[in-house]
Symmetry: C2
Subunit: 189 residues, 2 copies
DNA sequence: AGTGCCGATGTCAGTCACTGACAACAGGAG
DNA sequence: CTCCTGTTGTCAGTGACTGACATCGGCACT
């Protein structure tokens, strides 16, 4: 039912990704993306607030899944354990999207403006995690620190996995969590 | 010696900050900034690659200071302890700049495009920390994870301090480091 | 002093991201 | 058949940048 409504939107996303890969982000105009889909530039900007955003539609899905997972996590877990639990629980979501997110990540990594936007999305996600933790009764500053620390580990694991699928995502996550614990324990005087 | 050469550059920075505070970032054109200094818009863009960058000249100083500190840190320290040590050693630098960086932070925090650029600068700084740790013999992935985790704590402490000077920066740093240790220990099974 | 070089700036034209205003058009509800 | 609403096209305009070229004020070398 959204399929037809979002038809143009979806095709714009695909056309954008294709053109960015062909000619590169900078040398692809918004008008060119629109033209490939058969609409005007104006229509492109009605679907996406700016040219970069066309690659970042999926963020909301991840945010929803993560905040939901945090809400459903076992109540006994501390803030960081809650986050680790949530990261583990959305593994299938990430694994199913690998074929799409891997080339996307490569493109973003080599395109500064896109990388900037990615960082902003990650920051927004982190804020959402903070809110979710607060709903569980975690104090503000503590929630913020836990979210930052957790996202540091999560981001590290996901990027490592996107750039090399070798150990699976599950393995990457566990190793990263364990290494974080080791790293911090070692620094604790 | 640089004083006169960089005269225009410095004045552009100041004019930009002043205008952004008066009218807001969006409603301030690059031409307006240039005009206030008595140069043309073209000259503005010869000094700064883009409009946002005019607020981010200081980043290099911080990066230099931090990487130098990492190189000079006691050899016995582990990666994260090295970072904490470096963050502590940078404290005077930050404290001396508070009068400048506090309003700047407030402006950046309420201006999305500037916030994006700030995130990018922080990411670049993190990369520099990774390199500095590698020079000390820390393995790549381990260095990356330590840098991310360390920056999570450092960023959290600095922002909290910028938004409320109450406990001094030193106190903020120590509390944040300690809380990170506690948070992670608690999550370590 | 004269000459030549160089770095910083001005000028100008052009591209492209993005926006507001208004018209056109299609399908659905009444 | 008509009204309403949501999507798109059209057009004009602003502002961030960029490349090319001219100018101008030292500064070095002779």
């Amino acid at each position: 039912m959204d399929r037809l409504e979002d038809d143009v939107r979806v095709r714009l996303r695909q056309a954008a990704m294709a053109l960015f890969e062909e000619r590169g982000y900078e040398r692809t105009t918004a008008a060119a993306i629109a033209a490939r889909v058969g609409v005007t530039e104006r229509t492109f900007f009605r679907h996406f607030p700016d040219k970069r955003e066309v690659l970042f539609d999926g963020e909301a899905v991840l945010r929803t899944a993560l905040t939901a997972a945090i809400a459903e996590a076992p109540g006994a877990l501390g803030p960081l354990a809650t986050l680790f639990w949530s990261f583990r629980s959305i593994r299938p979501l990430l694994e199913n999207n690998r074929h799409y997110s891997e080339p996307r990540h490569a493109l973003i990594a080599r395109t500064p403006p896109l990388y900037e936007r990615e960082l902003a999305k990650t920051a927004a996600l982190t804020d959402a995690l903070v809110d979710a933790l607060r709903l569980r009764g975690v104090a503000d500053l503590r929630a913020a620190l836990a979210a930052r620390t957790g996202m540091a580990a999560f981001g590290h694991a996901v990027i490592a996995w996107l750039e090399d699928p070798e150990p699976g995502l599950g393995e990457r996550l566990e190793r990263t969590f364990a290494e974080t614990v080791a790293l911090v324990a070692e620094a604790g005087h």
